[in-house]
């Protein structure tokens, strides 16, 4: 019988196309189980080179680490380096899944360490970065010099009036930064009984912009801040003494009433990469530098507005003796 239906051949052709597409997809992706722990970026190695993927966090210090590591990996070891910008906690998750191969600067995430390093063993420690991090409350040095007693938390209330802003609900303003950073400030203000309001700038960029603006006008301010940070070279700041940090004093987030610890910053590698990453993995394990060296690169990025690559290149050219041992 003749098929007079005008649509039928079209439909059949479409069916074939769909089937072909589905088969193609199945072949491409493999028919069996998909491994969620082995997925790389579609942009990686598009030009056929061995690729390392580094995570980079939003602060400039982390950019400096990554830039220098990436520069050396590319120019000395012949890798292609992809960088992925991602917040700290999601970065851990990405590390465990193999989306990134390494985090170069971790500020201490006990929960994640327990889950991924000790539990699932998908993440391996990569040793010290060589830089020690410290979080604290800071006032600009020009203000601390004019009023030396502001550097003790007990006297902060006297200055609350001077530190008031439209956002601080009639109290003094303690400016906090990005929501991704470790902070106990709300509890601290409450437990130390201070007449202050914690105002979240919401991002480090906003916080830095505001600090620079205050400094330009020579205004007093009180801010959550951390070392190492390039901004200290532009806006000198003095730390406010909080009750001394003792082991375990910050364990209960409700009752915390002590300063932040000094944290030797850590590197972490994806376990599979650490085992079979060859020269790149060895290099990243050996990568270790000082606060001053990191700041040198950070400052070039943040203040001279060099691209991270250019800044890394400059630093690498000047400091062969520092990085040569990392490659050995």
């Amino acid at each position: 019988m003749r098929d007079t239906h005008p649509l039928r051949p079209l439909r059949r052709r479409k069916g074939v196309a769909v089937l072909a597409a589905a088969t193609g997809l199945a072949v491409l992706t493999g028919c069996g189980a998909a491994d969620m722990t082995r997925q790389s970026s579609p942009y990686a190695a598009a030009q056929g080179a061995k690729t390392v993927t580094l995570s980079v966090q939003s602060w400039v210090g982390a950019q400096a680490n990554t830039a220098v590591a990436a520069y050396l990996l590319e120019h000395e070891l012949g890798y292609r380096v992809d960088t992925v910008q991602v917040d700290e906690v999601p970065a851990w998750d990405a590390l465990s899944q193999g989306r990134v191969d390494a985090i170069l600067e971790d500020w201490g995430h006990p929960e994640q360490e327990k889950r991924y390093v000790e539990g699932k063993k998908t993440v391996t420690r990569g040793g010290d970065l060589g830089v020690t991090g410290h979080i604290g409350w800071f006032v600009p040095t020009y203000f601390a010099e004019a009023h030396p007693d502001v550097t003790d938390w007990k006297n902060l209330d006297t200055y609350a009036d001077q530190l008031r802003t439209p956002e601080s609900r009639g109290r003094g303003q303690l400016m906090d930064g990005s929501p991704s950073y470790v902070t106990n400030d709300k509890a601290l203000v409450k437990n130390l009984g201070l007449n202050y309001e914690v105002v979240f700038a919401g991002s480090e960029a906003a916080q830095i912009t505001q600090i620079k603006q205050f400094a330009k006008e020579h205004k007093p301010f009180l801010t959550y801040w951390y070392e190492p940070q390039w901004l200290f070279d532009r806006v000198p700041m003095t730390e406010v003494k909080l009750p001394e940090y003792t082991e375990g004093c910050a364990d209960d987030p409700e009752k915390v009433a002590c300063a932040y610890p000094h944290t030797p910053l850590q590197k972490y590698l994806n376990t599979r990469f650490a085992r079979s990453g060859g020269e790149a993995a060895d290099f990243l394990k050996k990568f270790r530098w000082t606060k001053a060296q990191q700041n040198e690169v950070s400052l070039m990025i943040a203040e001279e507005k060099l691209s991270p690559q250019q800044a890394a290149k400059k630093w690498v050219e000047r400091n062969a003796s520092v990085w040569k041992p990392w490659l050995a």
Binding site: A206, T209, A302
Partner: protein, 691 residues
């Protein structure tokens, strides 16, 4: 403005714009194409929405006044009832937290992931990679040539030149590779959005019940801030391209679905009857009559999918999508506005080029075809199926030529740097405008006044008011503009915010939204009244409005902080920049559309210009003005998250915190609260909305 070509299509096109426009995400594209959709929407509105007589509102005001007089003393008599009662709140943090942990623990072993999500993820990676490799292989010569040729075929020489110039600019700015990454991601995401949106739209267009079921789902997909569902995406798929593509699809599929459904439902009844009488089966009718008749809507849907998708490109960078968005985001880390703008401009260019091309393609569908003999020679050569082949061949030739000269990637030496001049401009601005400007005061003073005089009283008022009074007020407002159903939705939406346990934060956000909307409307109406009088002013304004809408908001985060300091004021400023263009455009169109006869007769009676404006034009343009109010609300709400990044606090901050700390509960709850606020505000500002 362009008139819609046939009367059959006019109502379809106009209403197509309406449901889409009431949502935050799709407004950008709709307003970026000011000519057709918005104008048609407002034109269509006036007859449909009967003006509410003064009698009706007076009859309503009296009982409302009485109720207020009775209730306010009650509210004062029970002080301390300001916050939502804890007994009526549900704490979701525990179950949501457990769900997050379960995903992380089972992601590598559970069959759901191994045999479903894993394959989805792999398929996305494979597709994006294929497109990306293809784009890289074509080189800049091939890509630019193909884009220009396609634009030329669809829209003529001018757009082809624009297109080539836009791609060249991406190269000149040193952004070639990131642009290609974004393009690859967009191609896959838009293709998936269009496919999924078309399927959903088909269901909704053919079945009333499916439509009713889908409507709230689509609403949620669009109002839920992307930041809130990025985290679940990241948990399931991990950071990177798959999660980014799928998040984009969630955001970009709804406009396509809505427009498809609309196109199908609007199909000319006469044609449908004719095909039915010819004995066509349902499927035949769909394929031969309904779908072809809905072509314009489908194309508009594709266009909207592209535009909403592009607006996600930057947000998706937060979870490692790479490309241009990532460059903008990284520049933010080193507080470098110049670098952020350098990466933002290609996004604007892509948006403008894609929008204009799709727009032209849509217009061509309705236009008469010029007889072949009268077309210019080149056009004839490139017409039809052979023309398509020829276009492709020409592009391939360009690509090969590019390869032979060895320039597949844009040469580094051909780049210009925008960063330095932009940064010095921003520095100058903040040096000279922040404070100490004579007479008017610096921007910091304005911000302080705005915070102290408007935001603070509004926030304390809302937070101090008893919760039941606010619910009553919400119901009354919604009843005034709609039906009891509208009122019920508004009350329930507001109550849901309390039940979710974020009452205080939500009212804080609400106060910011209301204040920003007020400023947006005042500025927007003022600008629009000026622009409506002079075509030249409007022409000058157009590129500025385009840029305000398509430039990634991350780019102007730093300038607003530099001008207004950290806090709620810069958040409001960012929201105003984003919402202003839509308000201006809709209002200008509304004023233009006012019946010329009415204006003429008023003028002949000797009305002055201001009388004309106040007593004739503004009242007649009322539907457009109301739409503008609605748009302002929805758009401002869409930027609440961005406000969280500059110190706006409240819900926006919670959503960002949720993503940054991997805290599913905080992020999702705050996101849901934003959806509820959006629903509530939509109901009380969108009069006589079709069900």
């Amino acid at each position: 403005m362009t008139a819609t070509p046939t009367p059959t299509h006019a109502p379809a096109g106009s209403r197509a714009a309406l449901p889409a426009q009431a949502r935050p995400s799709s407004v950008r594209p709709a307003a970026a194409r000011p000519a057709s959709s918005t104008a048609a929407a407002t034109a269509q509105d006036s007859p449909r929405r009967g003006p509410r007589g003064p009698l009706a509102s007076r009859a309503f005001l009296v009982p409302m006044g009485v109720a207020l007089v009775l209730l306010v003393p009650l509210a004062v008599a029970f002080p301390g009832s300001g916050s939502w009662p804890a007994a009526l709140a549900a704490d979701l943090s525990d179950p949501l937290g457990r769900a997050g942990d379960w995903i992380i623990d089972h992601r590598d072993s559970h069959p759901l992931f191994l045999y479903f999500f894993g394959h989805v993820s792999n398929a996305v990676v494979v597709c994006v990679r294929a497109v990306y490799v293809l784009l890289l292989a074509a080189g800049w010569t091939g890509v630019t040539a193909l884009a220009a040729l396609v634009a030329w075929r669809l829209a003529g020489v001018r757009l082809a030149l624009t297109c080539a110039a836009a791609f060249a600019a991406c190269g000149l700015l040193g952004m070639w590779v990131p642009t290609m990454q974004t393009l690859a991601l967009m191609v896959v995401a838009v293709a998936a959005s269009v496919a999924i949106g078309a399927v959903l739209g088909l269901a909704a267009g053919l079945s009333r019940r499916a439509d009713r079921l889908l409507r709230p789902v689509l609403d949620t997909m669009q109002i839920l801030p992307a930041f809130a569902y990025l985290l679940p995406m990241v948990l399931v798929f991990g950071i990177g391209v798959p999660a980014a593509v799928l998040a984009t699809v969630v955001y970009a599929a709804p406009p396509m679905a809505r427009l498809t459904a609309l196109g199908l439902r609007e199909a000319d009844a006469g044609v449908m009857e004719a095909t039915a009488s010819l004995g066509a089966t349902g499927r035949q009718r769909l394929l031969t009559a309904r779908l072809p008749l809905a072509r314009r809507q489908l194309l508009l849907g594709v266009n909207q999918a592209i535009m909403t998708g592009l607006s996600m490109a930057v947000i998706a960078s937060v979870i490692g999508a790479g490309g241009l968005g990532d460059r903008v985001y990284q520049a933010l880390a080193s507080v470098d506005v110049g670098a952020a703008l350098t990466a933002g401009i290609p996004i604007v260019l892509l948006a403008v080029v894609l929008d204009r091309t799709a727009d032209a393609a849509g217009r061509r569908l309705g236009a008469h075809t010029v007889p072949a003999g009268e077309q210019p020679l080149l056009r004839r050569v490139f017409a039809g199926g052979y023309g398509r082949l020829l276009t492709l061949l020409a592009a391939v030739a360009a690509a090969v030529a590019g390869r032979m000269t060895g320039t597949t990637v844009w040469p580094d030496s051909w780049t210009v740097s925008l960063a330095d001049p932009v940064n010095s401009a921003v520095a100058w601005m903040t040096d000279h405008l922040y404070s100490g400007v004579p007479v008017v005061g610096g921007t910091a003073d304005w911000a302080a006044r705005f915070t102290g005089w408007i935001l603070d009283p509004l926030r304390s008022g809302l937070q101090a008011a008893p919760w039941w009074l606010l619910l009553l007020l919400a119901g009354a407002l919604a009843l005034r503009v709609g039906t009891w159903r509208t009122a019920l939705t508004a009350v329930l939406a507001l109550a849901a915010v309390g039940v979710l346990g974020v009452w205080e934060a939500s009212l804080d956000t609400l106060s910011q939204v209301l204040a920003a909307v007020a400023v947006t409307l005042v500025l927007g109406f003022a600008i629009a009244v000026g622009a409506a009088r002079s075509a030249r002013a409007e022409r000058l304004l157009r590129p500025v409005l385009d840029a305000c809408q398509t430039l990634p908001q991350f780019v102007y985060l730093i300038p607003v902080v530099a001008l207004f300091g950290v806090g709620r004021a810069p958040a409001a400023a960012a929201a105003i920049v984003y919402a202003l263009p839509a308000v201006v455009r809709i209002t200008v169109q509304g004023l233009r559309e006012v019946d010329p006869a009415a204006v003429e007769s008023a003028r002949s009676l000797g009305a002055t210009r201001s009388q004309l404006l106040r007593q004739v034009q503004l009242p007649l343009a009322r539907p457009a003005l109301l739409l503008a109010v609605n748009q302002a609300v929805v758009l401002v709400l869409a930027v609440v998250i961005i406000g969280g990044l500059v110190g706006g606090g409240a819900l926006g901050y919670d959503v960002v915190l949720g993503l940054a700390q991997g805290d599913l509960a905080t992020g999702l709850v705050a996101g849901a609260a934003i959806v509820c606020l959006g629903l509530f505000l939509d109901r009380v500002t969108q009069p006589a909305k079709e069900a």
